[in-house]
């Protein structure tokens, strides 16, 4: 168990939506074709040549690929434009825009929209039922209002917290239907996925999520990696130093 606590974490938290990943697959097709090309290109040379050049090839190809896909026009496949605006407003409260880009700039709503017609089809129901509930909740909490996206940030947070089962005690827990996925948990999961996924796979536009967390967008890294290993003298020397003290 210990070995893959993240796997079980993944299991519990990333897993609810399982379905066939047609478009994810299409998305990765260009990726796969690229690699297949590289591999085939390699077979004409010696294995040693491929070994020596493989990382560099990956590195170069990744950059080309990223540059090529920057200009995709955003268009919804699942949401209506109004629904899209509501969902985008929610994602923007989960990871807001401040002095750095947030979910909005990362294009998270397009990642979600795309996911709902591909790998996340099982979650369509949660959105189909959750969005009207959201609208009702907005009207209930703020008379005269009907759109989440029309509320102030503070009002939006109040609405979202009313959906959040894990919010501090005293807030009203909410489930769309018995057995249904919690709307807030689902959209939170999808927002984080869309913000932090490798930009090659349909979210995290321009790598803004990785910029925020400080993850460099490369396929390979060289030591030293961080502050604590940069002056490491090597195992033998470190062991000798330790023996002296």
């Amino acid at each position: 168990m210990v070995c893959i606590s993240q796997m079980s974490l993944t299991e519990n938290l990333l897993h609810p939506r399982v379905g066939k990943s047609e478009i994810t697959r299409q998305n990765t097709m260009s990726e796969l074709n690229r690699r297949n090309f590289l591999l085939r290109a390699g077979t004409g040379f010696s294995a040693a040549w491929v070994t020596a050049n493989w990382p560099a090839l990956l590195f170069a190809a990744t950059h080309a690929h990223n540059a090529a896909k920057a200009a995709t026009p955003p268009k919804f496949a699942f949401f209506t434009p109004e629904e899209g605006a509501e969902v985008e407003a929610i994602t923007a409260r989960i990871i807001p825009t401040d002095d750095t880009p947030g979910a909005r700039e990362a294009g998270v709503v397009y990642f979600i929209d795309h996911g709902l017609v591909t790998f996340g089809v099982d979650d369509q129901k949660t959105y189909r039922e959750g969005l009207p509930e959201l609208r009702a909740r907005v009207s209930e909490m703020f008379s005269g209002a009907s759109k989440f996206s029309g509320l102030t940030a503070e009002q939006q947070d109040a609405v979202l917290h009313s959906f959040d089962e894990n919010a501090p005690a005293g807030r009203r827990a909410f489930r769309a239907r018995p057995g249904a996925q919690n709307f807030f948990e689902t959209i939170r999961l999808h927002t984080i996925q869309g913000f932090l996924i490798d930009p090659e796979f349909g979210g995290n536009r321009d790598g803004v999520g990785w910029k925020l967390i400080g993850r460099e967008r490369e396929h390979r890294f060289q030591s030293p990696f961080g502050y604590y290993d940069k002056d490491y003298p090597g195992w033998q020397s470190a062991a000798k130093e330790a023996d002296k003290t």
């Binding site: 070995c3 893959i4 796997m7 993944t10 990943s21 400080g214 990696f225 195992w235």
Partner: protein, 554 residues
């Protein structure tokens, strides 16, 4: 490479059919085909290669591209045999050519002498069916060395004073240390402990057709795009294919072993991709399907002659399951570690491998490792300190500040063999092929939990000595989910208390062999794959000798 493979007909009686292509199956395929035998490997998953791997967390982790799928193969879970099991995911294993070795962490510790003789040394442990192995560390040592050299393990011989004797150094130096490793090493030394470079089944130097590790940072859970991780896919399977005598047949889901009137195995029955059923005939069957699927296959193969399942005259097939115990402590530091770069684990310590039960009050031992094995998405769900807001600007700020300043210490330890802990067939739930689903029954032995919490306290001490700004953790809890699947068809000399003998031959069926995590008699201290692979090399030698003496088909 695949085009060079022979294509055997299912009606061809090949020398060996091997079920499973993972850590053990891959090595047996390589060794047996190299020794001149005709081999068919039936793998339930697809044949993916480096070109199919990616850093797509959704596809790989959430959609189980490389692993068993909970919708196709659902499982049930309960704590004790008197409970009704609930539908819940019980396990993750690799479901592709190369098996779990494709996505594993690649921690490659050898077992120590104690792991083979613990029962003799500590005496009986109440509530556990602890048993000595029929082989010793010395028997397995040459095969550990073989794994290191043939498969490719990086490490530093002699760096740990607790290491068992070895006949040869590692074939290549340790991988570059990470900041987590340096922090761990310095703090452990302050405490008088003995940290050392982690032995890893990841190349620090290129080999023909395989790159050295490029530190891409998507390691645990992912397939290696440059062949640096020493999976069966990148190593043994390719060597097996080169012999021209081994066919790897993917998308072949074995669900029964056929036997004849003499009680001998005649082949393996499987579904192909279109769910057509075939029988691959063979002179002998070797099952390497993992510690859950191997006992399941034996139980699914019950017939009139073997009413309790094949090779189950002892009644213990599926029992004495061990997961390995443990806990995790996470710490944050002032400066960036950037530990997302590179593989997972760069430093380990084994000062607590062999604890004195009289002093600590429990049986077992363990190791600690320094690691960071989060991806960006899994970090957002599991890497932030408790109490971090779950949305909004403070959540965002935590992501920004913490991702590069975080590391983990994993506690790895013994699980004692308990008879009730098992994989069995669920009486109600079926998989997508209509076969009975796996049912997990598991309740940790009290000593395992005590050990886990004891190790947890050591990990806290280490973070304290390291000057972590924050530290928090999850102590050992009763497990309901496993990835180390050990002990369910254990090896022994007594057919009443074991399923296979020291040659990996089942006591009941003379041409049926089992080799994988199910063969283990004890759980070691948390890292079983190295031992599974050493056993596979040894099993191949034993099986070859039996075959050459005519003692399998007789």
């Amino acid at each position: 490479m695949r085009v060079d493979q022979p294509r055997y007909k299912t009606s061809d009686e090949v020398d060996f059919v091997i079920v499973g292509s993972g850590a053990a199956g891959g090595i047996l395929a390589k060794e047996l085909s190299t020794n001149g035998f005709r081999v068919v490997v039936l793998e339930q998953g697809p044949y993916l290669t480096e070109a199919d791997f990616s850093h797509n967390e959704i596809e790989i982790l959430a959609l189980d591209k490389l692993t068993n799928h909970p919708k196709l193969q659902p499982t049930t879970v309960r704590k004790t045999p008197d409970e009704k099991a609930k539908h819940q995911r019980a396990l993750v294993y690799g479901r592709c050519v190369g098996g779990t070795s494709v996505h594993f962490t690649a921690n490659f510790w050898r077992f120590h002498e104690i792991d083979f003789v613990e029962r003799s040394k500590v005496g009986p442990v109440p509530g556990a069916g602890l048993m000595d192995w029929p082989i010793t560390y010395a028997d397995l040592e040459p095969y550990y060395t073989k794994v290191e050299w043939e498969i490719g393990v990086s490490g530093q011989a002699g760096a740990s004073p607790f290491d068992p004797p070895r006949s040869k150094p590692y074939p290549m130096p340790p991988l570059a240390v990470k900041s987590s490793g340096v922090i761990f090493e310095r703090a452990a030394r302050k405490l008088g402990w003995h940290p050392y470079p982690a032995p890893m089944a990841i190349l620090s130097q290129a080999r023909p057709g395989r790159s050295a590790c490029v530190n891409c940072g998507f390691c645990l859970g992912f397939g290696c795009e440059v062949g640096a991780k020493s999976s069966s896919l990148a190593t043994a399977i390719r060597m097996a294919e080169k012999t021209g005598r081994c066919e790897i047949r993917p998308n072949s889901y074995v669900h029964r072993i056929e036997t004849d009137a003499n009680g001998r195995a005649t082949g393996a029955v499987y579904f192909d991709e279109k769910r057509n059923v075939h029988l691959q005939k063979a002179k002998a069957v070797v099952v390497c399907a993992n510690g859950a699927e191997t006992p399941r296959l034996l139980l699914l193969s019950a017939n009139k002659q073997f009413p309790n399942g094949l090779a189950n005259s002892s009644g213990i097939v599926g029992k004495y399951l061990m997961f390995n115990s443990g806990g995790v402590v996470t710490g944050q530091f002032e400066h960036p570690l950037n530990d997302y770069k590179g593989y997972a684990v760069s430093r380990v310590l084994h000062d607590f491998y062999e604890l004195d039960p009289q002093k600590v009050g429990f049986c077992g031992g363990g190791g600690l490792d320094a690691r960071f094995d989060f991806t960006p998405i899994t970090f957002a769900f599991g890497g932030l300190p408790p109490g971090t807001p779950r949305s909004g600007k403070d959540f965002k700020a935590a992501l920004a500040q913490d991702f590069n300043r975080t590391m983990e210490i994993f506690c790895h330890g013994t699980s004692l063999p308990v008879e009730n802990n098992s994989f069995s067939l669920d009486p109600d739930l079926k998989d997508a092929w209509g076969l009975p689903a796996l049912r997990l029954t598991y309740k940790d032995h009290p000593d395992d939990l005590k050990l886990g919490n004891w190790m947890f306290a050591r990990a806290h001490e280490l973070f304290e000595a390291a000057g972590a700004q924050k530290k928090w953790g999850f102590p050992a809890q009763e497990q309901q989910f496993g990835v180390h699947l050990l002990g369910t068809c254990r090896m022994g000399n007594d057919p009443k208390t074991s399923v296979i003998n020291a040659d990996h031959r089942t006591h009941d069926v003379m041409n049926l062999f089992l080799c994988d995590g199910s063969s283990l008699v004890t759980s070691g201290r948390g890292q079983p794959t190295m031992t599974i692979e050493a056993l596979a090399f040894r099993a191949a030698d034993r099986i070859t000798a039996l075959a050459k003496r005519g003692e399998i088909s007789a």
